[in-house]
Point group: C2
Chain length 289, copies 2
């Protein structure tokens, strides 16, 4: 392993490779903290941690894919608030034998995903651990936050795409399949623009599906003090997580967003019913038993 200074210099080159200069970034990587000048509006903050063996396996995914996937989970959280992600902090614990080239590959994956939305890495921390752990924190801006608590009785429930491809990819990888069908687990393609369209269309509540659709709908129902009835003939995976499909509620009096799939209604009551049946909201949970 190179010295810490050499390593940070190598990562700085990758993280500062953004094509355009950023006038708001006053101090980037290399000091005790990053300094950013503030625009108007509100700040939105989120964090997401990924652990080897729990969220990814190095024999299944390249380090580039792993970096992109952890970044995507963070970026999706900000979009699910109706916000725009701007700056990332990356902390990583590296197992013994991890090479500088491997760290750079992980960093390039993070940059690749972040650059899709114009966000950049402005700081971080590196340490050692028995298994690879990556924790990203993200700072964004938002004008009108879209909360989980905004769903109103009579609203339509919409999604921008069918969830479950990440979970299906995991099942295939477990079964020894290594082809393109596993891609959505290895590196989910998140449609950030769809979340922006939902926010611009005036959705009343929104979340990204990180732990499973029913789990996210249960959060929305509880936070909003309403029930949710899903009725659909689509072959939807209600429990697979990590796709970062966006689920939202919207007044039927507003124009229907492009790309939205209607799957149900917000009703009086509580909990989530799928085709008339009350469902448990156990989604993917990475917590220990």
């Amino acid at each position: 392993m190179a010295s810490e200074s050499e390593l940070i210099a190598a990562l700085q080159a990758i993280f500062e490779s953004a094509p355009e200069p950023d006038d708001r970034l006053l101090v980037g990587i290399g000091d005790d903290a990053a300094v950013i000048s503030q625009p108007k509006g509100e700040v939105v903050l989120a964090t997401d941690m990924s652990v080897e063996g729990v969220h990814f396996k190095r024999e299944w995914s390249s380090l580039f894919e792993i970096g992109a996937k952890v970044a995507a989970a963070n970026l999706a959280d900000i979009y699910a608030m109706g916000g725009k992600p701007e700056y990332l902090l990356v902390a990583a614990a590296l197992p013994a034998g991890f090479s500088v080239g491997e760290i750079q590959e992980l960093a390039r994956g993070i940059v690749d995903e972040a650059s899709k939305v114009g966000a950049r890495v402005v700081g971080g921390d590196l340490t050692a651990a028995k298994e690879l752990v990556i924790s990203i924190a993200v700072y964004g801006s938002v004008k009108e936050p879209v909360l989980r608590s905004g769903a109103r009785v009579g609203d339509l429930v919409i999604i921008n795409d069918l969830p479950g491809r990440s979970a299906a990819g995991w099942d295939l990888l477990q079964a020894g399949v290594r082809d393109e069908r596993t891609m959505q687990h290895r590196r989910p393609v998140v449609d950030y623009l769809a979340a922006r369209d939902f926010a611009l269309a005036g959705v009343s509540a929104m979340a990204d599906v990180s732990d499973g659709l029913v789990s996210e709908l249960s959060h929305i129902a509880r936070a909003s003090g309403v029930g949710i009835e899903i009725s659909t003939d689509e072959p939807i995976d209600f429990h697979g997580g990590e796709d970062h499909v966006f689920v939202a509620t919207i007044s039927p009096h507003l124009p229907f967003p492009r790309q939205a799939i209607e799957i149900g209604r917000v009703v009086l009551g509580k909990g989530v019913r799928v085709n008339g049946e009350m469902t448990s909201h156990q989604g993917f949970s990475a917590l220990p038993e």
Copy 2:
């Protein structure tokens, strides 16, 4: 282990136990992200990750102490920029068998340290891992950032306290000692007010000693394009880290800050000399071999 929702509710109670309401915090724990309204000035962002066996051992430190220590490392980074920490995000990977009570104890330690400076936890993530990993990201405000690059030839080098007690505590713990002398390793007492006094006094550069005094001075010398000469009769530990003593440079024409100990001068040249001898800047590094 309780369900994720129950666990988050239990943590929310601890993290929202701050005595005063916060008008700027528009959305706290429980949505995809936190939302904070912005004051004037600049935003300062930092992150710090701690790993069981590398930064702490559960047989040596209580979970309360571990939480407080990880929070302190983050808060010190913001103070070392001349800033004020305001909001924390906490991500933790928990080993099997970790109880709800243990998670709460960790959370209480974080709150205890954060409340010393009026900062609060507004979000986070929980997952599983083989060993306990805690990653905190911190958001603060700053009017005039104090960078590592500001040291000028002729400046005095000052510290607010003697570093090395954390490293000494680690050595004692390794040797089987379990008394009060190990406290500064288990839970360093960081003098945040001293950093504020340094910033108000107009220091030209500042860092907190997380990796060892010579390591931090080397960063300042390199970033500022200067050399640093330390001359002291004090019994200083130049390589022990994690104390979060603040080291700064200040013009000799400014009033000397209260509580400062002068240990050297900024000179033409490069690198760090201690009592005339060039030193290596290898501090504490948590990176794998």
